[in-house]
């Protein structure tokens, strides 16, 4: 069911789901709102998997569940063969050394009241990565690794620019020498010229440290540039997943195609292409359409789409799509 990768997967999500039940009205029935539904995904060492999708598609929730920061309602996450849900508090904290997170907002991800060095040192001390006497040197080494001077350790976060803060956040994530990093929109809040600095840094780290990375973003260009594999999410489910070149080069799912068409480009498509722009808006996760959730906006939708949720079936080697017309889409493209 899970694609073949050269090495055994480090992190495996198996049929993950997260429900946030809400009440409709105050006395109303409890209503299921699935942020993530039935997601299976695996990530191997040295691999960067990109998750793309629009706001509310569940990509952040998925990332947090894969780190164990959020408890799944259904399914399970296993890390290096150990099921996260079976671990107790202390064991879980122990394991967290090997999995870290980088956040979107460079202004919210650092504690404004503590020095940068102290925050990087937290991980070193909690997990006793280096002897107490070497903590200072290790902090300096980490800062240099992300391209900042060692003197940055004494300063407070507010003295740094957005891009520098994001590097500090990366240094903090690296402090515990993790095997797996979840980066949740790490460049979205940055200016274009700074984005490139951080993207390059992440690429270097992946190469040098052989990290497994889950890269969450709504920016298709960045994802395509950085990731080896890509998963496209719509309304809590993965609709297409596979190698980056295939998924973005010859997308099998109509939503992936629409997303690519909607993304502005330095080299705009001819005007007649505007017909590909999706109509309508994202349905509410509280009342998703029956069958395929995308059918209400899909240009190819037919009656059969409402019948059942389409399975995520293989359309190529290590490439899956959840669309009953996936094959035909490709045929049309080729024509």
């Amino acid at each position: 069911m899970i694609q073949d990768t050269p090495t055994a997967p480090l992190v495996i999500a198996d049929r993950l789901g997260r429900n946030y039940p809400t009440r409709q009205g105050l006395l109303g029935q409890k209503h299921d709102v699935w942020a993530v539904r039935d997601v299976s995904l695996s990530i191997a060492k040295g691999e960067t998997v990109g998750i793309v999708g629009e706001s509310g598609c569940g990509k952040s929730t998925l990332g947090r569940m894969m780190l164990g920061l959020e408890t799944p309602s259904t399914g399970s996450v296993s890390f290096d063969g150990r099921d996260l849900s079976t671990l107790g508090g202390a064991e879980r904290r122990q394991l967290s050394r090997r999995m870290q997170m980088v956040f979107q907002d460079p202004f919210g991800s650092l504690d404004p009241r503590r020095s940068v060095g102290a925050q990087i040192a937290d991980g070193l001390k909690t997990h006793k990565i280096v002897p107490a006497s070497e903590v200072k040197a290790e902090v300096a080494r980490l800062l240099e690794q992300v391209g900042l001077p060692a003197s940055a350790a004494q300063r407070r976060p507010h003295e740094f620019s957005g891009g520098q803060r994001q590097r500090i956040a990366v240094a903090r994530a690296l402090s515990t020498r993790p095997d797996f990093i979840v980066a949740d929109e790490p460049v979205s809040a940055l200016d274009v010229s700074i984005q490139a600095q951080v993207v390059n840094l992440l690429m270097d780290l992946r190469r040098d440290l052989d990290l497994a990375m889950l890269f969450i973003s709504h920016d298709l260009h960045v994802v395509r540039h950085l990731c080896t594999r890509i998963a496209v999410m719509y309304l809590g489910r993965i609709v297409e997943e596979g190698p980056a070149e295939q998924v973005f080069g010859s997308p099998a799912h109509p939503y992936t195609r629409a997303l690519l068409a909607a993304t502005p480009s330095l080299h705009p498509k001819p005007a007649d292409d505007t017909g590909r722009i999706l109509k309508g808006e994202l349905p509410s996760p509280a009342s998703p359409p029956s069958g395929c959730a995308f059918r209400t906006r899909c240009p190819l939708a037919e009656d059969a789409c409402a019948a059942a949720v389409p399975a995520l079936d293989p359309v190529g080697t290590g490439w899956r799509a959840a669309c009953i017309k996936a094959g035909r889409v490709n045929a049309e493209d080729a024509a």
Partner: protein, 319 residues
């Protein structure tokens, strides 16, 4: 909307029940025998036999849970019992005195809102200017002066020195309307001053905040002139938190006019409570506390509902 009100009412009822129960338990679990207290005069101990008889008559010998059940049954049927002290019906006493307290509070709220909202808005528009500094300092000073100090000082000024208003007391409106209003003026004004301070500060802060909002900029971008922007966009949005605070403050005042009633000899509900607590008159205390907390909780409910009417977002937030 109706659902919202219904659920809020249920929560409110639950809170009232909690309060009544807590007060009941507090009064029954504390040391001090009311029968003994009632029968003793000065330092002479009461006759033990008489105390026992009275305890029997007041039902104090029954187990606590039985007393509680009969008490709650009474409450539900609208009977708050009779005073230990003089046998008067508690509910009648409350019905007599509550309107007097409410009268002071309502008069104060009217005065304070009428003056406070325009003053606060003006201060916000002139923020950091001299007028703002003066208004803000006045508000801080008014907020910092306890009501009994204000009350005592206004009596000193208006009754003692200028002799233009009576120092205190109460005359029924039906007997002498003019004298009634004259007597109302000082206590209501005293309460209003404290409330005024709160409303000025709140309106100022609220207007200042709304002025920074993007939709005020949008209103300007439309080409609207000052008047409509202020009325439709600024004040309307700024009033929401002011109303909330006003409601909460009035709730606090229902039990908080003790000092004003004491200073001006105003025979309202709060003064009644003080003497009842002093005499350990259970039926009276429980009855008054229950009345006050019902009003308090009910007022909070009204505030929420009024807010929901003013602010269309609220019904969504709670769903």
């Amino acid at each position: 909307m109706l659902r919202y009100i219904a659920l809020r009412s249920l929560v409110a009822l639950f809170l009232v029940w909690v309060v009544v129960t807590v007060v009941f338990l507090l009064l029954h679990l504390i040391p001090g025998d009311p029968a003994e207290l009632l029968l003793s005069t000065g330092n002479i101990a009461a006759d033990p036999a008489a105390v026992a008889a009275l305890r029997e008559k007041m039902g104090l010998n029954e187990p606590l849970w039985q007393q509680y059940i009969s008490h709650m049954a009474g409450v539900l049927s609208g009977d708050l019992g009779a005073s230990f002290r003089d046998g008067a019906s508690v509910i009648e006493q409350i019905a007599l005195r509550l309107p007097r307290t409410l009268e002071v509070i309502l008069a104060a709220a009217l005065i304070a809102t009428g003056i406070g909202v325009p003053l606060g808005t003006f201060a916000a528009i002139r923020a950091d200017g001299k007028a703002d500094a003066a208004i803000s300092f006045f508000a801080s000073a008014a907020l910092s002066t306890p009501v009994f100090v204000v009350g005592s000082v206004v009596i000193l000024i208006f009754a003692q020195q200028l002799k233009i208003l009576p120092a205190g007391g109460f005359v029924d409106f039906s007997e002498d309307p003019v004298e009634h209003l004259k007597l109302l003026l000082l206590p209501a004004g005293t309460v209003a001053l404290a409330l005024l301070a709160v409303i000025i500060r709140m309106s100022r802060a609220s207007v200042l905040e709304v002025l920074q909002r993007d939709y005020v900029r949008t209103a300007r971008a439309k080409g609207l002139s000052r008047g409509p922007i202020l009325r439709r966009h600024v004040v309307r949005n700024a009033l929401i938190p002011v109303l909330t605070v006003l409601g909460l403050e009035m709730g606090t005042l229902i039990g908080g006019t003790v000092l004003v009633e004491f200073v001006f000899n105003w025979p309202g509900l709060s003064g009644y409570l003080v003497s009842a607590v002093d005499a350990r008159d259970y039926p009276e205390v429980v009855g008054i506390v229950m009345t006050i907390s019902v009003l308090f909780v009910f007022l909070n409910l009204v505030v929420d509902v009024v807010n929901a009417l003013f602010d269309p977002r609220i019904s969504l937030v709670t769903s």
